[in-house]
């Protein structure tokens, strides 16, 4: 789901391609085991899409109100964060059966994994369960980030933070976790966690706080830029990781009124990602139900495609940097988009309120 994760998947794909004398992962179909995992926030299942056919090949029941999803770099496991269980659920990649449900400190949102697959970071949102001043319902002090050790499958630490956390990204080199303290609490900061100590290394005041984010890397693999949406604006900001300065602010070009999706808020633009080849920033707009592309590193606008579904709320990119799969939350579909031509290839029916999705290489 993250660039570094996609790169790991790309390496696996490369090995497969060499072994079978095929050229590219998508051209290698049907032999490729590349899959898109699509969660359904309003449903009780997850869908697995084969990008070779752009069809659902399997639906796994028993995942009520799943929020985040990430696959182990080797594909051996899939991890889901469940809002109904307040847990991360580890699933075996071969049997697709649950291995363990790992209790968390609160209500989980997005999750991410380190490049070595050893640690998972779970965003913990504020939980509104304090009725001590009823009829006011207040949030409990549960925001932060939970750290999970994937060897023992246990939560090893809760990093308490001001404000609830909705989105986080492990950097491509695995050294840091970029955290948007955006889920209530008026924190108005971005926090950066050092994965060696699992403590907050530094913070950057941002109003509104960033969420979601995407991370690009330099040639040496270290973190270059953070691209951050903020829920309020239909666009994103560019943050230089080394200098900790906010630079460019970009507003997504508008589209014609009839193509707009009026139900954009609370986060009118929610989802952006850097292609694994680091050449393109892909940004979606829930308010416009559209996908935009920008060239990198110059952040120059390339184009837009309006989607067949409504309410673009999340996306994932294929390891070859050629396609995006966009979750259309309001119309229960996932769009497959060719990034070079900006053509929608398919609109794939899935479950209720498709949300986060991820790349998975079947073992």
């Amino acid at each position: 789901m993250r660039s570094k994760h996609l790169i790991s998947g790309f390496a696996v794909l490369g090995a497969i391609a060499l072994g079978s004398l095929t050229v590219s992962p998508l051209d290698a179909q049907p032999a490729s085991k590349l899959r898109i995992i699509q969660t359904n926030f309003g449903g009780d299942s997850v869908h697995i899409i084969d990008p070779a056919t752009n069809k659902v090949v399997r639906e796994i029941k028993g995942f009520e109100t799943v929020h985040g999803v990430i696959a182990a770099p080797d594909g051996s496991r899939i991890y889901f964060s469940s809002e109904s269980e307040n847990a991360v659920i580890a699933v075996d990649g071969k049997t697709l059966q649950r291995i363990k449900s790992i209790p968390l400190s609160g209500n989980p949102n997005l999750i991410d994994i380190t490049p070595d697959g050893k640690s998972i970071y779970a965003a913990i949102a504020l939980t509104y369960d304090d009725v001590s001043e009823f009829p006011t319902v207040k949030a409990g002090p549960t925001g932060g980030v939970d750290v999970i050790d994937t060897v023992s499958l246990t939560k090893i630490k809760t990093i308490a933070m001001k404000g609830g956390v909705h989105d986080l990204n492990v950097t491509p080199d695995g050294k840091f976790v970029i955290v948007g303290n955006s889920r209530g609490g008026r924190a108005n900061i971005m926090s950066v966690v050092d994965t060696k100590t699992n403590d907050v290394a530094w913070t950057l005041p941002m109003d509104p706080a960033p969420s979601p984010m995407a991370v690009s890397k330099k040639a040496d693999g270290s973190t270059d830029k953070i691209y951050a949406q903020n829920g309020r604006d239909n666009g994103f900001q560019v943050i230089d990781f080394a200098t900790r300065k906010i630079g460019q602010t970009v507003t997504l070009p508008d589209i014609s009124g009839q193509e707009k999706n009026p139900f954009g808020p609370p986060a009118v633009s929610h989802g952006l990602m850097v292609t694994p080849d680091q050449k393109t920033l892909v940004v979606i707009s829930r308010g416009n139900s559209a996908l935009y592309t920008y060239s990198l590193p110059d952040v120059k606008y390339i184009g837009v495609v309006t989607l067949g579904g409504k309410g673009a709320g999340w996306l994932v990119l294929t390891p070859d940097s050629k396609r995006a799969y966009v979750a259309n939350e309001h119309t229960n579909t996932t769009s497959a988009v060719d990034l070079a031509t900006l053509k929608e290839l398919a609109v794939i029916p899935v479950g209720f309120v498709p949300s986060r999705n991820a790349i998975w290489m079947q073992p």
């Binding site: 926030f41 229960n332 479950g351 309120v353």
Partner: protein, 153 residues
Amino acid sequence: MKWASSLVVVAASLVGISVGSLGHAAAPLPAAKAGVALDYEFFKTRVQPVFLLKREGHGRCYVCHSNNNARFHLVMLSPGATSWNEAQSKQNFELIKRVAVPGSIDSPIVMHPLDEKAGGHPHHGGGQQFESQSDPAWQTLKGFVLGEKVASR
């Protein structure tokens, strides 16, 4: 649908909220009908179970609405409990008045989870919970805002 359209405009214009928060800007509620009152016993025994019911293909209402800060909120169940106690039910009854207007089926608790194709709102964060107005659970929500009492069923 005119009301739904106004909801769209209002919701789209009120974006000065905390980022990523589910505290959606609240659209104005429809007007209450004189002489209609919400019935607590009907709420406790008929409506609350709808929020806990696991329906095929859907997430339960309770999962999101006990966690987030949406206008419609339910108090957390006590640890190990499968339903609310009396004190909690009374709190839920107070909270649901934020989205249940006596005498109005345009109340958000009725229209928000109903599929747009069946006359409901265009978008609900938990999906189209009720595909048609003939769904018994939706009928229960409708009956509640229209002042239905336990004895009348």
